[in-house]
């Protein structure tokens, strides 16, 4: 479903993402871990079509993102880490706007779909309010509604738990698992090792722009030579390098 081939991004001579090769199959929940400044958000942004790669290709559902961006993007639902939205629209208007962009605004079932999603993310009561009056968590839940509105084949998620309360976080984990069971590929970057361990079937660890380990939890344990939990494996593989290795990438 998602294929990254020699994906590279350079910012003023610095290789933020350095020749990544990855393949994620249909219906898999894939965790993308790494210390701060490792290149997670840059990779995610390139996959969502928000950043242009310096080198390499991104194939989503068989469409090359560079050659046929519309076809590739139509299959994707993107959830960024910071939910910048159109503050002067109401939640409902925003969802109709997104439905239009993804060409599902004429579906007779759209109204029902929107109601279901608003109900699911507990936003029904606020749907007529302007987004400017929403809290950070509500905005994040609204973005999730919008990412699911066109029933994407791949969900690309950057730090899904930022700003969510424990109840909403539980809901999001359940939704990701459910989406994956229905055949949607979920590709998410996260700092939460607990979340990755609980939700993801496969995990890749990125450091200094390169994939240093990849596989199921069991395979990672084997690669790290550790029997511990994911936190232990992560620290072992990255040699505890977090902030010490952080580099300023760009203004993004």
């Amino acid at each position: 479903m998602i294929k990254l081939i020699n994906l590279t991004k350079t910012f003023r001579g610095l290789r933020a993402v350095d020749g990544i090769n990855l393949e994620v199959k249909e219906g898999v929940c894939f965790g993308f871990l790494g210390p701060n400044g490792a290149g997670k958000t840059t990779t995610i942004k390139m996959m969502a079509g928000v950043l242009k790669p310096t080198e390499g290709r991104i194939i989503i559902n068989g469409s090359d993102l560079a050659k046929d961006p519309s076809a590739a993007k139509r299959c994707v639902g993107f959830i960024p880490d910071r939910p910048f939205l159109y503050e002067k629209l109401s939640g409902l208007e925003f969802l109709h706007f997104i439905a239009g962009l993804y060409g599902v605004d004429n579906l007779p079932s759209l109204g029902r779909r929107i109601s279901e999603l608003l109900e699911l993310f507990e936003l029904s009561h606020w749907q007529e309010e302007l987004i400017e009056s929403y809290s950070h968590g509500m905005k994040q839940r609204l973005v999730m509604c919008s990412a699911l509105i066109h029933r994407p084949k791949a969900l690309i998620v950057d730090e899904p738990m930022v700003g969510l309360d424990p109840k909403a976080a539980r809901l999001v984990k359940d939704i990701f698992r459910e989406q994956a069971s229905q055949g949607t590929t979920v590709f998410m970057s996260t700092h939460s090792l607990e979340m990755a361990e609980e939700v993801c079937e496969e995990i890749a660890i990125i450091q200094a722009g390169q994939i240093i380990a990849k596989g199921t939890g069991e395979e990672l344990r084997h690669q790290a030579g550790s029997d511990g939990n994911l936190e232990h494996i992560f620290l072992r593989l990255t040699e505890g390098k977090g902030l010490a290795h952080e580099r300023p990438l760009s203004s993004h």
Partner: protein, 565 residues
Amino acid sequence: MRDLYLLIRPRFLGFRNQLVLSEGRTRKRAFFMGGLGLAFCVFMFVLCSRVLVYFQSVDVIGDFLARYLLSMILLTFFSLLIFSHIITALSNLYLSKDLELCHSTPVSIEELFVSRALSTLMDGSWMLIIFGVPIFLAYAYVFAPGPGFYIALLHMNIAMVIIAAGIGILVTMILVHIFPAQRTRDIILLLSIFMVVALYIMFRFLRPERLVNPEAFFSVLQYVSALKVTDSPYLPTHWIAETLWGSLTESQGAVHLFEILLTWTTAGAIVVINVWAARAIYFEGFSKSQEAKKRLMGGKQVLDFFIRFVTRPFGGDLTGVIAKDIRTFFRDNTQWSQLLLLAALVVVYVYNFSVLPLDKSPVRLDFLQDGVAFLNMGLAGFVLTAVCTRFVFTAVSAEGEAYWIIRSSPLGFRRYLWGKYLFFLLPMLILGEVLIIVTNYFLDVTGFMMFLSSVTMFLMVSGIVALGIGLGAVYPNFRHQNIAQVSTGFGGVLYMIVSSLFIAIVIVLEAWPGYILFMSNVSGNPVTTYEWLFIIVSFLAALAVNAFAVVKPMRMGGRALQEYE
């Protein structure tokens, strides 16, 4: 004091880093904008000098006029400074993103307030330097005063800025104490726009051009005596005007000590009052400004009906984008209220043509009418450029930080840009044609000229709008605090220059063949084959320039958005 220094420091560090770390392109932009600013200063200096020299040539009332012009300028500056400080104080004291951090530190509220007040003072008064310095230097150039004038100019202006900033900040603190900060910003902006519109229309309808008409001197004297009403001995601007005028015209050593003391004690008092007020109400106001705002969405049904009507010709994806743009525009008080400014601009433009004294001109009337009609095409084009700089050039940047939604959606960049283009084209065409047809009606031009002007305007608007959308996409700013700021940035200025050049080229290409046809009509001599060839080539060239102005910037814009990171 150490905390105050620490609080102000990041601003200077940021400024220094911007200068030191900026890349070649940013520096070039800074030089370009600096050059434009300097050119504007020179223009103001020359204009003001010429007015003052003219006043000096007028017997009896020359000095009187110069003295009252100085009073008017100071009064205008003072009022503008107060308004400007009210607006900047709102951002600096209540809405700035770093305030949460500052308020969470153990810094005293007084020091925090003073640091923010100093930032407000700097942000709100730079305008005085750009506009004021060339005007005051023009006074110095014409009256050749001693060094006392320059000293007085410096310290009295500093005092004026402190007083205006103090009043502005105090008014803001009181308003935010009563209303939430967000609502206060809207109220103030709306009031400012109403005030500017009213002043602009009132000033125009006073017909100040009569000031240069010797036949109207009787009415000028009435006019000037009416102006005297605006000056009051209780106003700081009166004390400053007295001091400056004294050092300009009186003998050396004539120091207006009383006025200087009045000004500076007022400035000192206003600073003390502000600190007292801040201690009492600033934090409470800041706390209120953090509360979430809940707004009513008035006129939703009307807006929905309008959107359904406007978006009918567009596809689902573009309908969404256009509907979103319309809703955002009409729900943001700072946006739709600028339509009032636009309406005032159009009214005054049309009014100017209705009072043109063409019959008093020594030039043949029909010749003059057609000449002015060509000039009118250019002027209407410039008016449209100004309007497009604010509304069309900013269309792409208006997505703001939510641009990731468009970028990650399957909507193609070219389709997105052409959608925006078509959306703006119709209202701009209506505006352009109304301007040109109504003013040509007042000019009573020939049928041929009316036809040529209408067609030219139709084509020019297509180019002006495409340039706005295209260059807006080449120079987007998605991280703006206020969309109006985007139009005054580098891209906005460049758009105005390029669009003005485009208009000038089209007018030049049409003016000469227009003249040949007009002369042939007047003299009764038929147009020669060679002249016909020249006319056809000229009109075709104008058409080609228009087509180029539509296609090229749109392509550049599409490519730039694709490359944008």
